[in-house]
C-alpha cells in the first residue's frame, strides 16, 4: 500500500505527461483529480492505522543486496500525519494555481513528482532510500520556483537547490559511514534504520555523524543561521510552491531530526540538546524579530516559518512526552496554517500583483471574506487556543519547560512577537480606509478559493479542539522514541510532579 502511495503521484504525472501539450485546459483539472487519489489512499491509511503497532504496512524489498540497500517503507505515528498532510495539500496547491497559464503541463507534473518525493521521504525506513527521496525532490521544487516564480526566481531557485544539496551532501557522507560501520560490525551491509540504530559508535564518531545529519536537517528546517535561502525561495516561488515548501518540505527537516537523529544517535542527541535548543530558540526570536519589519508580506510569513519551526525543534530536543508530541503535531499545524497563509498571500497577489505591505490598506472593506480568512489563519498562526497552533505550541512549551526551563522561557517570547508581527501586518494590509484606488476595486474570494481554504480551516478548528484524533496516533510512536533514548543513554527524562491525573473522557 505504501508503495502505491508513492507510485500513484508518479503514475499521475505520467498520465498528465501523455496528454498532448496543446490540450492545455485539461492538464490542471486532470492533475487535481488525479492527486485526489493519493489523498484518498492516505485517508484510508489514516483510518486503518493501528497506533500501538509501531511501523506498519512495512515493505522491505532488497534493492541491491551486496550494498544492503532496500525498498524499505513503513509508516508510524510520526510519519502518518505528514503523509496525510502532504496528500491533502497537493490538490489544494494545484487548485490554487489556476493563474499559471504557461507550461501548465510541466507544472502539474513537477508538482506530482514532488509529491511522490515527499511521501517517499516520509515513508522511507532505509537511509539510502530516504536520501534518494530527500534529494530527488529538490529538482521538481527547483523547477517550480525557477520557472514559475517572480523576478528573482533564478537566484532563489539556485540558492535553494545548492544550499539544501550542500546540507544533504554531508548527510550522505554520514550515511555511508554508518552503513560501513554496520558492515564492519555485523558482517553484512544494511542501510535499514532499524539495523543502523543499534550500532555501537564511539563518542566522537557518533557526534560527527549526528552533526552531519543535523546540519542537513537544520538547513532544511531551516534553523538559524542556515535560514536565508528560505525567504528568498518563498518570496519568489509561485503560490503552490510556497505552500508545499512551507507546509511539507521544511517538515522534512524537523521530521528528519526526530526520526533519524534521535534514533540513530541517542547519545549524541542527548549531548547536543543545548546546542540544538540554542539554535531553536535563537531561530524563534530572531525569525520573529526579523519578520516584524519585513516590507514584503510573503517574506514576513516566511520568517514567521523560521520562528515557528524553532518551536518544533525545541520540542523535539526537549525529549519529553509533551515536547515530542507537540513537535509532531506542530509539524502538521504549521503546515496547515502557514500553507493557508501562503495561499491567501497568493490570492492577494493574484488580485493586486504586489506583495508589498505598503501597497495595501483597507482591504477588509473590499475583500471582507479574504480578510476574514486571513485573520483566522493569523490567529491560528499566533497560537490562539482553540485553534491548532496553540495545541502544538502549548504542548511544546509546557512539555519542554521541565527539561529546558530557560530556553523555553525565551521561546515563549516568540509567542508575543508572533502577535506583534502578524497583527501589525494585518493592520497595515486590511484595516483603515482603502485609500489607494487599486485596492478599492478588488473582487472578493471566488467559490473555488473558498473551497480551498475551508478544508484547512475546518482541520485547524478540529485539531485545535480535538487533537486526540492525531495525538492518539502520534503518542505511541513518540513514546517509543523516548523509551529508546532513555534505554540507550543515561538520560533521565524529567518527571514533572507526580503522574498527572489520569483522565478518562466522558465516563461519568
Amino acid at each position: 500500500m505504501l508503495t502505491a502511495l508513492i507510485l500513484l503521484p508518479v503514475a499521475a504525472a505520467i498520465v498528465v505527461a501523455l496528454i498532448p501539450g496543446r490540450r492545455r485546459e485539461i492538464h490542471l483539472p486532470l492533475g487535481i483529480a488525479l492527486s485526489v487519489m493519493p489523498l484518498a489512499l492516505a485517508g484510508y491509511l489514516f483510518w486503518v492505522f493501528e497506533p500501538a503497532a509501531g511501523f506498519q504496512y512495512v515493505v522491505d524489498v532488497p534493492w541491491y543486496e551486496p550494498w544492503g540497500i532496500a525498498w524499505n517503507l513503513g509508516v508510524d505515528g510520526i510519519s502518518l500525519p505528514m503523509v496525510v498532510l502532504t496528500t491533502l495539500l497537493v490538490p489544494i496547491a494545484l487548485a490554487a494555481s489556476t493563474t499559471i497559464t504557461n507550461r501548465t503541463k510541466e507544472f502539474v507534473m513537477y508538482t506530482l513528482l514532488l509529491e511522490a518525493g515527499m511521501i517517499g521521504a516520509f515513508l522511507a525506513l532505509d537511509l539510502f532510500l530516504f536520501f534518494v527521496f530527500f534529494e530527488a525532490m529538490l529538482i521538481p521544487m527547483y523547477f517550480i520556483i525557477g520557472i514559475w516564480g517572480t523576478e528573482r526566481r533564478i537566484y532563489a531557485a539556485v540558492k535553494f537547490f545548492i544550499y539544501t544539496a550542500f546540507g544533504s551532501a554531508l548527510m550522505l557522507a554520514a550515511i555511508i559511514g554508518l552503513a560501513l560501520t554496520y558492515a564492519s560490525q555485523e558482517g553484512s551491509a544494511s542501510f535499514a534504520l532499524s539495523d543502523l540504530a543499534g550500532l555501537d559508535l564511539s563518542v566522537g564518531t557518533e557526534r560527527m555523524f549526528f552533526a552531519a545529519f543535523a546540519i542537513a536537517f537544520a538547513i532544511k528546517v531551516p534553523l538559524f543561521p542556515f535560514h536565508t535561502w528560505l525567504p528568498d525561495a518563498h518570496v519568489e516561488a509561485p503560490t503552490a510552491g510556497s505552500v508545499l515548501l512551507a507546509a511539507v518540505l521544511l517538515k522534512l527537516g524537523t521530521y528528519g531530526l526526530l526520526r533519524f537523529n534521535l534514533s540513530l544517535f541517542p547519545d549524541a542527541s542527548v549531548d547536543a540538546i543545548p546546542i540544538m535548543a540554542i539554535l531553536a530558540v535563537v531561530g524563534i526570536i530572531y525569525g520573529a524579530v526579523v519578520a516584524i519589519v519585513q516590507p514584503d508580506l510573503k517574506k514576513l510569513v516566511a520568517y514567521s516559518s523560521v520562528s515557528h519551526l524553532g518551536f518544533i525543534v525545541l520540542g523535539t530536543f526537549a525529549l519529553t512526552s509533551g515536547g515530542l508530541q507537540g513537535a509532531v503535531i506542530q509539524n502538521v499545524n504549521h503546515g496547515l496554517t502557514t500553507g493557508a497563509l501562503f495561499l491567501l498571500v497568493g490570492m492577494i497577489y493574484d488580485r493586486r500583483h504586489t506583495k508589498k505591505i505598503a501597497d495595501f490598506g483597507g482591504l477588509q472593506k473590499t475583500v471582507p471574506l479574504l480578510a476574514g480568512f486571513f485573520l483566522f489563519m493569523t490567529f491560528a498562526s499566533i497560537g490562539l487556543p482553540g485553534l491548532n497552533g496553540f495545541v502544538g505550541e502549548f504542548l511544546v512549551l509546557i512539555g519542554s519547560y521541565p527539561a529546558l526551563p530557560s530556553f523555553t522561557v525565551i521561546a515563549a517570547l516568540g509567542v508575543v512577537l508572533a502577535a506583534i508581527y502578524l497583527l501589525w501586518a494585518y493592520e497595515r494590509v486590511f484595516t483603515g480606509v482603502p485609500d489607494k484606488e487599486e485596492n478599492s476595486v478588488l473582487s472578493d474570494l471566488s467559490g473555488r478559493e473558498i473551497a480551498l481554504l475551508v478544508p484547512i480551516a475546518v482541520l485547524i478548528v478540529v485539531i485545535g479542539l480535538y487533537p486526540k484524533l492525531l495525538l492518539d496516533k502520534i503518542t505511541p510512536s513518540t513514546e517509543a522514541v523516548l523509551d529508546r533514548i532513555v534505554e540507550q543513554t543515561d538520560y533521565t527524562m524529567p518527571e514533572p510532579g507526580r503522574i498527572g491525573d489520569v483522565f478518562v473522557a466522558g465516563d461519568e
Binding site: 551486496p66 550494498w67 530527488a136 525557477g146 531557485a157 539556485v158 550522505l172
Partner: protein
Amino acid sequence: MITPPEISWVAIAPDLALAIGAALVLLVDVQWKPAPRVLGWLVGAILAVGAGLTILQWEQGADALASGDTESLVAFSGLITMDGFAIFSRFVLIAATGLGLAAGWRFVVSLGRRGAEATALVLLATTGFSLMVAANNLVMLFLGLEVGSIALYVLAGLARERRESEEAAIKYFLLGSFASAVFIYGVALIYAGTGSFEILGIRQHLNDFVISSPAVIYIGIGLVVAGLGFKVSAAPFHTWAPDVYQGAPAGLVGYMAAVAKVAGFAAIARILLTAFSDLADTWLPVVAGISVLSMVLGSVLALVQGDVRRLLAYSGVAHAGFIMTGVVGGATDGVLFYLAIYAIQLVGAFAVVAVVSGPDGAGSSLEEYRGLGRRSPLLAGAFTILLLGMGGLPITSGFVAKFGVFTDAWAQGYQWLVIVAVIASVVAFAFYIRVIVVMYMDDAGDEQPLRVGPERWVLALAVGATILWGIFPSSLLDLAADALPI
C-alpha cells in the same frame, strides 16, 4: 630456443573485428563509394559483431575467473588478458563508440568523402583502446594507448574549416605525445626496477623480492600515473581537455572524451590496483591528492565557464577526481560502474551539444541554450536528465555510481576524501544547474525547434540508462562486480 607465441584468437577477436572493420570501411569506400546510409549500416554491423564477440568472451572469461584459473585468461605469452575487467571495459568502449558515432554521424556525413576516413579512424581508436584495457603488458598497453591516441589526434583536427579544430588538434597532439613519452619513460623505469613489463609479473616481483631500488619504481609509478592522468584529464594534467573539447568536432567530442577516459582509468586501475597493490600505502595518498585537486579544480573552474563544451570538459576533470576516489577505494567494480555510466552520459550530453551547435560544431556558448526548454522540450529534457545524472542526483545512475565509489573510499579509510568529494559534488550541481537555468528559466531568443537526427537514439538510450540504472542499478552493478581483473 625461441618459442613461438601461442595465438589465442578468442582473446583479440573483438579487436580484430574492429580493426578489420576499419580496413573494410576504407576499402568499401574506395571501391563502391557508398551512400552514407550504407556506410552507417556497415559500421553498425561491425560494432555489433565486436560487441557480440565481447559478450561471447564474457562467457568464457567468467567461468575461468570463477574457477580461479587465471592462467587461462592470459593470451599471447602474457600480453593480453581476457578477464572480466577487460571485457567489461571493452564492451563499454564499443558501446560508447556506437553511441558516439551515432551522435557524430551528421558530422561524419558532412565530411563527404572523408567521412569514411573518420569512421575508420574511430574504429581504429576503439581498437587501440580496446587492446589497452585488455593489456597485461605495459608495452602492449602503451601500444594500445598510442593507436587510440593517434587516431584521436587526427579526429580532433577533422573539422578543418574551423581554426579552433586545428588548434585543438595540435595542442592535443603535442601534449598527448609528450604525456605518452612521460608514460613510457615511467614504464621503462618500472621495467628497470622490477624486470618485468607484465602486470602479473610486476606483482609477482614485488611480492617475492625485497625491492633494491624503490626510488626508480616510485618514479616510474609517478610518471605512469601522470601519463595516464593526462589521458583521463585528471588535474593537474587536465589542461588540454577544455581546449580540445571546445575545438574538436562537436559530434565526436563525446566519443573522444569517453573512450579516452574509460581506457585511461581502466589502465590506471589495472596498474595501480593489480600490479602495485603491494605499494598501495605509498601511492594511495598521492592518488587521493590528485583526486581532490581534480574535483576541486574541475568543479570550481566549471562554475565560471561560459561555453558548454568547456564546462563539460571541466566537469570531466571533476569526474576524473570522483573516479579517482574509486581507485582510492580499491574496488574495480565501483570504478567500472562509474565509467560505464559516465561514458554513456558524456556521449549523450555531447550529442545534445552537437545538435545545438550544428554538425560543424561552430558555437557552443551558453547563450545558444537560452530557452531550449521551450524551443525543443524533449532535447532540453534529455540534457537536463543527463546533466543531473552527471551531477549525481538520486534516482539517476550518476548517484549510484558516486555512491559506490564514495563508499569504497570511505571503507578504505579515506573519510576526508569522501567529505571533500560530496562537497565538490554540490559545487558540481551548481554548474549543471546553471545550464538548466539557461535552458528553462530564460526565454528563447530563437523559437525555431532544432532538428534532431540520429542523436535522438543516442539520447533515448543515454537517458534510459541514466534513469533505469538509477532506479534499478543491480543488473549493471552485478556485472561490474563480476568483472574482476586477474
